[in-house]
């Protein structure tokens, strides 16, 4: 369809009816289309195919066309067609002479084409620069009494030329629907419809102006236009090639949204995306913006060759930049000079040089953070993220300040302290089981619940300050009998004091049956690291974890080890040393069901033959049948430290001991310090949260060297030819300020006044968004082979408007929406249809199917399911099973699709996770691009597959149910319920005749579901949002089907 319109547009610009030649033949309008199609292959810009080989003839530009040929005369003689060889050759009957030659697979020129060429030569064969390359100047809008602004004056001129009658104004509610979809991608709400009707009744133009202005300030607007732009930027959430893993680049997507939200001028928008990193004092946001050029698909395929992919990436970056900003298809020049446009192969490789000076490596390692990257906090966190470091600094300083102020309080406290005789006394904690392990009279004693026990002890002891003799556990093996029993689901805390000297390995205490796959538990030391085994069946149903760091040697430590049988195995162990939590490394983390065993508990061993080795002292082992709180553990730990320090007489304390006491005081007892530390901890936690909410994002970064590239012969990466510097294509006659150019110069030139293309291409793309077809239909190609503008003066007028109004896109949008052209009805008349069926000249409003995202967002919005949250990581709404798996590699981290729950199902479609090798299927079927290459113009096909999506896809059925629920809740009346649905979707109520049709269907469905209640139940189970159980199932099911029907109406799916 795209193509047929292009042909129509060409025909209508140059109506080639043999009888009617134009009075003045125009090179751009009439001649170029003929000779570019038929002659440029051999006589155009491409030097490699120019013929004849020895004396090449070039006809695309005046400076070559009139040069003398070997016979001494030019091939075109101004004013004399008969004498011009060009003319003689095209009319020749001789197969060896005639142009184009038959072997070129081109047909001979048609008689009207020949007549045009003849007349052009007769009239002086005047060449012109290709229209899109000519400088921009503001055309004067024609005078006319039709329409509201300049756009209309240009449009009506064409109407008159083609004898077309413009249509009446659109009905206000439909107009509002069009406006709201165009500006926000969403339908208007029923309140908005009502308000607009009132406003429109007073003053329609004012109502539109005010409404448009209001819509342009919404997040929905920013999201909608960001989504348009993400097509051009080929944004995706995966690398795109081979493994197609996740890639962190959504901060770039959020940057685009923010740019539209702030209505960033388009020149700045361009500069920041092309060269944000090179701007003076580039901000984080400006660096993130350069993600535009990092959206290229990349590979990490084993065996791929760096050079080859560097060439592929640069070609993609040039092709995208050219098509998006310049409307030029430079890609062809990768292999040879462009066949039609004046872009040489050298120009092309000079453009690649701008992008090849990047620090980016060719292979992405399948990593999410393929360098260069920056860390980007969430947009709403960014302000805080930049100030939090300062706050942290201040918090630290405040703690220091308190430290110097607290000396007096400390001294006062210290004088009151004395050594406690027993550490135990400071612990108010009552353990369920305790084992003081002080040796008295060759015995150790223990308390198990209410029962006191004692055991003989004949091993080594260590004299410990304030504790007397403490048992040394080395090579000990004391059978404690039936002592300490707990179950797999219990929560248990072990605490005590531990002193290690040298290498220590083995069990401190255990109850483990080595005959029964080690069922049981132990407290375990491994090279001085503390941990535990919790074993059902070793090794699969067992947990083993030890601290990542060993305990410090030769000092007493307080420890606490918590086993939480309710936590997942990998989180079941926690160890505190001296009140600080230590990370744990798990070597086993299987599910444990049963710990029961009949073997006795042993101290210093876990089997008569397996004992602890090395020098370890343990005392005051306590076992609690609960999780001790952090606070309890800290207190217990600090008591030890304090006693150790206080045990040294005041006059003998050295500096470090004094400091330690002071530190102890500040940390544990000084109220102000504790407050300040808590505040700092809070800041640290806050920073961590912000960090987790953000993401790294791919950016551009320049190497310090000068930008250059090699011409690659035939585009082959391995055939490096001439070395060329970064440069703007010659045809633009750019005069560089510097000797060497950087990406920043490219960015500046793209939006400079001297470049006529960017503004034209940009307003044209905007026009396309509103009218479904650009003034130049080929939005991606403004070159010689692209479509001709249907309204060239209007295009230039808008381009000048854009530039002169500070590149304000919204200014153009306001112009468009306030035009009579835009506000026309979409109705057709047979008279107009006959003259311009494709509506090239806009005698009626554009009427076309909504885009994939608009259709889904409409369903979410109308049904009230939409979650209006802006930005953040991409989400994974409903998708049929197996779509990713069918194409993915085993190792890909996007092989298995894991659908979100809750709000992730109901975000706007631009937040849907975009896997490039398997785009979201419901959107791809509705013509969303795969985002593997840039897309500035979407296809619109109406396939049965698309009908399946809107009829059967879970999200559309669920939305129908939600909409039906709301409709039923707000009224008992059939027509009010129906109105609710149709206003939400179509912005209008149905007339009586239409209502009758729906009523009949509803009655049918009601009866059907009453007879088959299981059908109703099934339908209502679709989707994860809660079902309203207050409505009868058959009623809700029948209305769900009605909502689905209204949703599938042509009028609903169409703008």
């Amino acid at each position: 369809m795209k193509r047929s319109l292009a042909i129509l547009s060409f025909l209508s610009v140059a109506p080639l009816t043999g009888a009617k030649l134009p009075d003045v033949v125009d090179f751009n309008d009439h001649i170029q289309p003929i000779i570019s199609e038929n002659c440029y292959q051999c006589h155009g810009p491409d030097s490699s195919t120019r013929a004849p080989k020895k004396t090449p003839l070039r006809l695309d530009r005046a400076e070559f066309a009139f040069l003398d040929r070997p016979n001494g005369t030019p091939s075109i003689i101004k004013g004399d067609a008969e004498a011009s060889e060009v003319f003689q050759r095209i009319i020749s009957k001789d197969v060896d002479e005639v142009m184009p030659p038959p072997k070129s697979h081109k047909k001979p020129l048609k008689s009207d084409e020949i007549a045009l060429i003849k007349k052009w030569i007769q009239q002086g064969s005047k060449y012109e620069e290709h229209w899109s390359f000519t400088p921009l100047a503001r055309p004067e809008p024609p005078k006319s009494d039709w329409g509201q602004n300049a756009i209309d004056k240009f449009i009506v001129t064409r109407h008159r030329e083609h004898d077309l009658d413009p249509g009446p104004p659109e009905e206000p509610a439909r107009l509002l629907r069009r406006l709201t979809f165009d500006l926000t991608g969403l339908p208007p709400t029923s309140e908005e419809v009502a308000t607009f009707r009132e406003m429109a009744a007073q003053d329609l133009p004012a109502a539109i102006e005010m409404t448009a202005a209001k819509l342009l300030t919404t997040n929905a607007y920013a999201e909608h236009f960001a989504r348009h732009w993400l097509d051009t930027a080929r944004y995706g959430d995966t690398h795109g090639i081979h493994n197609d893993n996740y890639r962190g680049i959504w901060p770039y997507r959020d940057w685009v949204i923010e740019a539209f939200r702030k209505n960033m001028p388009f020149d700045q928008f361009t500069r920041e995306q092309i060269a944000g990193d090179l701007l003076p004092n580039a901000t984080l946001a400006q660096k993130i913006a350069t993600g535009f050029n990092r959206c290229i698909p990349t590979t990490g395929e084993g065996g791929a060759i760096d050079q080859e992919y560097q060439a592929i990436y640069a070609t993609d970056q040039v092709s995208t930049t050219s098509a998006v900003f310049l409307g030029l298809s430079t890609g062809c020049a990768a292999c040879h000079d462009h066949k039609f446009d004046p872009i040489s192969q050298k120009d092309f490789y000079s453009l690649t040089a701008f992008f090849r000076n990047s620090t980016m490596k060719a292979m992405d390692r399948n990593a999410a953070d393929h360098a260069p990257v920056v860390f980007a906090p969430r947009l709403e966190d960014r302000q805080r993220f930049t100030t939090i470091d300062h706050d942290l600094l201040m918090a630290g300083e405040a703690i220091q300040k308190r430290r110097s102020d607290a000396q007096a309080d400390f001294e006062a406290w210290l004088t009151k302290q004395k050594v406690e005789t027993s550490t135990e006394a400071t612990l108010a904690l009552i353990a369920d089981t305790s084992l003081p392990l002080t040796v008295r009279d060759g015995k150790i004693t223990g308390q198990d619940g209410q029962i006191s026990k004692s055991w003989d002890f004949s091993g080594k002891t260590q004299l410990t300050e304030g504790l007397g003799e403490v048992a040394n556990l080395a090579n000990l093996n004391i059978d404690l009998g039936d002592f300490v029993l707990f179950q797999a689901r219990d929560q248990i805390t072990f605490s005590g004091y531990l002193y290690l000297d040298g290498k220590v390995n083995g069990p401190l205490i255990s109850r483990m049956d080595s005959e029964a796959a080690d069922r049981g538990w132990d407290l375990w030391l491994e090279d001085g690291k503390l941990g535990a085994h919790i074993v059902d069946t070793w090794p699969d149903q067992a947990i083993k974890g030890v601290t990542t760091e060993p305990l410090k040697q030769k000092q007493w430590h307080h420890f606490a080890l918590i086993y939480d049988g309710k936590a997942p195995p990998k989180k079941s162990l926690t160890v505190f040393i001296d009140g600080t939590s230590f990370p744990i490394k798990y070597s086993q983390a299987g599910k444990v069901e049963n710990l029961e065993t009949n073997v006795p508990t042993r101290l210093g061993a876990r089997h008569p033959n397996i004992s602890l080795t090395g020098n370890a002292n343990l005392h005051t082992l306590k076992i609690f049948r609960r999780k001790l709180s952090n606070d309890e553990i800290t207190k217990a730990a600090s008591a030890t430290t304090l006693n150790r320090l206080l045990a040294v007489p005041a006059e003998q304390r050295d500096q470090s001991q004094k400091e330690a006491l002071f530190d102890f005081y500040l940390t544990n007892l000084d109220g102000p310090t504790k407050g300040l530390v808590a505040k700092k901890d809070q800041l640290i936690a806050e920073k961590e949260t912000l960090r987790k909410r953000g993401s790294t994002t791919l950016v551009m970064e320049e190497k310090p060297s000068e930008a250059f590239a090699h011409i690659l012969e035939r585009g082959e990466y391995s055939l490096e030819g001439e070395k060329v510097p970064a440069a703007i294509p010659k045809v633009f006659k750019h005069e560089p300020k510097n000797q060497t150019l950087s990406r920043k110069d490219l960015a500046d030139w793209l939006v400079s006044e001297k470049n006529p293309l960017t503004a034209r291409v940009t307003v044209n793309r905007l026009w396309y968004y509103f009218f479904g077809r650009g003034i130049v239909e080929t939005t991606e190609d403004f070159g010689i082979m692209g479509s001709r503008p249907t309204h060239p003066e209007l295009l230039d007028y808008l381009a000048v408007e854009l530039m002169e109004n500070g590149w304000d896109l919204q200014h153009i949008m306001k112009l468009i929406t306030s035009s009579t052209t835009y506000q026309q009805s979409a109705k057709t008349t047979s008279a107009n249809r006959k003259k311009d069926a494709a509506n090239l000249y806009l005698w009626r409003a554009a009427r076309f199917r909504l885009e994939a995202e608009q259709i889904r967002d409409m369903a979410l919005s109308a049904s009230g399911l939409l979650v209006k949250k802006v930005g953040g990581p991409s989400v994974k709404p409903y998708q049929p099973e197996g779509v990713w798996e069918a194409v993915a590699m085993k190792g890909s981290n996007t092989r298995l699709f894991k659908q979100d729950k809750g709000e992730g199902l109901y975000r706007r479609s631009l937040y849907t996770f975009w896997k490039r090798t398997a785009a979201p299927p419901s959107m791809e079927i509705l013509n969303a691009p795969t985002r593997e290459i840039f897309c500035v113009r979407r296809d619109r096909t109406n396939t049965p597959l698309a009908a399946f999506v809107t009829m059967n896809d879970t999200q559309f059925i669920e939305a129908s149910r939600a909409l039906a629920t709301r409709a039923i809740k707000q009224s008992q009346s059939f027509s009010q319920r129906l109105d609710f649905i149709t206003i939400a979707l179509m912005s209008r109520t149905l007339d009586n005749e239409e209502q009758d049709v729906v009523k009949k269907a509803l009655d049918h469905h009601l009866k059907y579901y009453l007879e088959k209640p299981e059908f109703a139940d099934q339908l209502l189970k679709v989707g994860e949002s809660p079902l309203d159980s207050t409505i009868a199932n058959n009623e809700l099911a029948a209305w769900t089907l009605i909502a689905s029907q209204i949703f599938n109406l042509d009028e609903t799916l169409t703008k």
């Binding site: 369809m1 193509r3 047929s4 129509l8 081109k106 047909k107 081979h242 084993g302 065996g303 791929a304 060759i305 080859e308 098509a323 298809s329 039609f340 446009d341 082979m785 979409a826 109705k827 057709t828 047979s830 249809r833 069926a837 009427r847 076309f848 199917r849 049929p880 197996g882 194409v887 590699m889 090798t917 299927p921 593997e932 296809d939 096909t941 109406n942 396939t943 049965p944 399946f948 009829m951 059967n952 059925i957 005749e993 049709v997 009949k1000 269907a1001 469905h1005 059908f1015 109703a1016 099934q1018 339908l1019 189970k1021 679709v1022 099911a1037 089907l1041 689905s1044 599938n1048 109406l1049 042509d1050 009028e1051």
Partner: protein, 484 residues
């Protein structure tokens, strides 16, 4: 000029001027259907494209993704036995062939002869490895091309070249070109279908991308429609739970009535297209499940395709499905079978791969023959490139791996005007270079088009100002020697 587009444009122009107040004429169908399911039937094939009388009406392409080893299947090199472990370093240097990053760092490149036995088969005496006993039985039905070659040396670019004609992204797939060029034979089914068959080899699995069956710059309706072994055979095909065919019919009738009313007021042809779109969807809801339901296949047929034919999604059942599609007018079916990338443990890993495909391939050809369809159905088997004669990684008497090799590999073709019982092209003693009758991937494309009656120069589409072609800008040729 662009012949197909011209033709379509002519149709469109006629449509625009046709007055079509009642019913649903062919008027607005041009925008309508996937994979060329245009409802216009054969009439959408431009006459100029039919200059050459078509030998084939449809194609089944059996794509072995990951690249099967030609040296262990078809390209028999008995002399290699004597050169076991010989280091090819200096030979490779002479060849100037770039190596992939996976083996370019190897100190030595030892010759790895195939450990599998080869025998001559059939009238033609073609050599086939013991890995493919069923394929061996049908050598007289097929033409083995041993001289295939490509430029690409890694999977992604090679697959793109093989299935879209270009190493770069964004080009239409082979099937999309055909859908665009051929129009449709069946109003209720897409004419370009893709099947993803399960594979059982434990080795490397390459990723694929929908771009291999995507429409590129052609209109979206020419995209391949992927049929799925589980769930809906076509995405979203089945009515939502709780909506049966009667309810759907009733809903559509009501929908049509409202749409018709809207058309009467607005007069936009798109509305009629919409109505037709939904009607066609309704018909597909019946025709696709009928097509995908293999329960009506006879025991004899199932036996022929082997034990895996009962497993939905297997290569065997995919082949049966492909044949059913051919019978119903689908013109291009592509079966993707992954898992052929044997960089290491080739002997162990290639076996189950061969078991997946060998009997079904044979059965498919026999089945088509029995039904009188082989004559006008072109069957193609092959991967995206070949594998190296030297071992990647450790080489032992019984084990080796092979890296990617673009310069020579084997494919086979059958039916659709291809002369069976011949082996075409030859390679050197290392199976490294083509020594006779080279066939580039683009030549294969040219030949496929040719057999379908399409001159590859004429199948063009204007995009970015150029007449784009499947076969690119370099000269290509029809492999006429293997044709009848």
């Amino acid at each position: 000029m662009n012949t197909v587009a011209d033709f379509n444009a002519a149709i469109s122009r006629r449509q625009f001027f046709r007055k079509n107040g009642t019913g649903l004429g062919a008027a607005s169908l041009a925008t309508l259907l996937p994979g060329g399911l245009s409802g216009l039937s054969n009439s959408s094939v431009p006459s100029e494209l039919k200059k050459v009388a078509p030998k084939a009406k449809r194609v089944i392409y059996l794509s072995m993704l990951g690249a099967p080893s030609q040296l262990d299947l078809f390209d028999y090199k008995p002399k290699l036995k004597d050169r076991f472990k010989d280091d090819l370093s200096s030979y490779l240097k002479e060849q100037g062939q770039r190596l992939t990053g996976m083996t370019s760092g190897q100190a030595k490149f030892p010759v790895a002869p195939s450990i599998f036995e080869f025998k001559e088969h059939g009238q033609s005496g073609a050599w086939v490895s013991e890995l493919l006993p069923h394929t061996a039985k049908m050598v007289d039905d097929i033409a083995i091309v041993k001289s295939m070659n490509t430029e690409a040396i890694n999977h992604e670019p090679a697959n793109q070249l093989c299935y879209t004609g270009n190493q770069q992204n964004g080009k239409p797939s082979l099937g999309s070109w055909l859908a665009y060029g051929l129009g449709s034979q069946n109003e209720d089914l897409p004419n370009f279908v893709v099947l993803h068959a399960q594979h059982t080899g434990p080795g490397n699995v390459q990723a694929i991308s929908s771009r291999l069956w995507g429409p590129g710059f052609l209109p979206g309706k020419y995209a391949g429609v992927a049929f799925r072994p589980k769930g809906d055979p076509v995405l979203y095909l089945r009515n939502a739970p709780g909506i049966d065919r009667e309810l759907r019919r009733n809903m559509l009738d009501s929908l049509n009535t409202l749409n018709q009313k809207s058309y009467d007021i607005v007069g936009d042809n798109e509305i009629q297209t919409r109505m037709q779109q939904y009607e066609m969807a309704f018909r597909m809801q019946a025709s696709v499940p009928e097509l995908s339901d293999l329960s009506s296949e006879s025991d004899q047929t199932r036996e022929m395709y082997g034990p895996q034919s009962k497993t939905s999604g297997s290569f065997a059942s995919s082949c049966i499905l492909a044949r059913r599609m051919m019978e119903r007018g689908v013109q291009f079916v592509q079966i993707f079978h992954r898992g052929w990338d044997q960089h290491s443990n080739l002997p162990a890993h290639i076996k189950p791969q061969c078991e997946d495909i060998d009997q079904p391939c044979w059965a498919l050809v026999q089945d088509l023959k029995q039904r009188g369809m082989l004559d006008d159905t072109l069957v193609i088997w092959g991967g995206e490139f070949g594998r190296t004669v030297y071992s990647q990684g450790t080489l032992t008497e019984k084990n080796y791996g092979r890296d990617h090799h673009p310069r020579a590999f084997s494919m086979w073709m059958a039916g659709g005007g291809v002369k069976g019982g011949q082996v075409y092209g030859e390679t050197d003693d290392f199976g490294y270079n083509v020594t006779e009758n080279p066939v580039h991937i683009s030549d294969l494309h040219t030949t496929i088009l040719h057999q379908l009656g399409i001159n590859h120069h004429k199948l063009t589409f204007k995009y970015q100002g150029l007449d784009q072609k499947l076969t690119g800008v370099k000269p290509t040729q029809v492999i006429s020697e293997i044709l009848e």
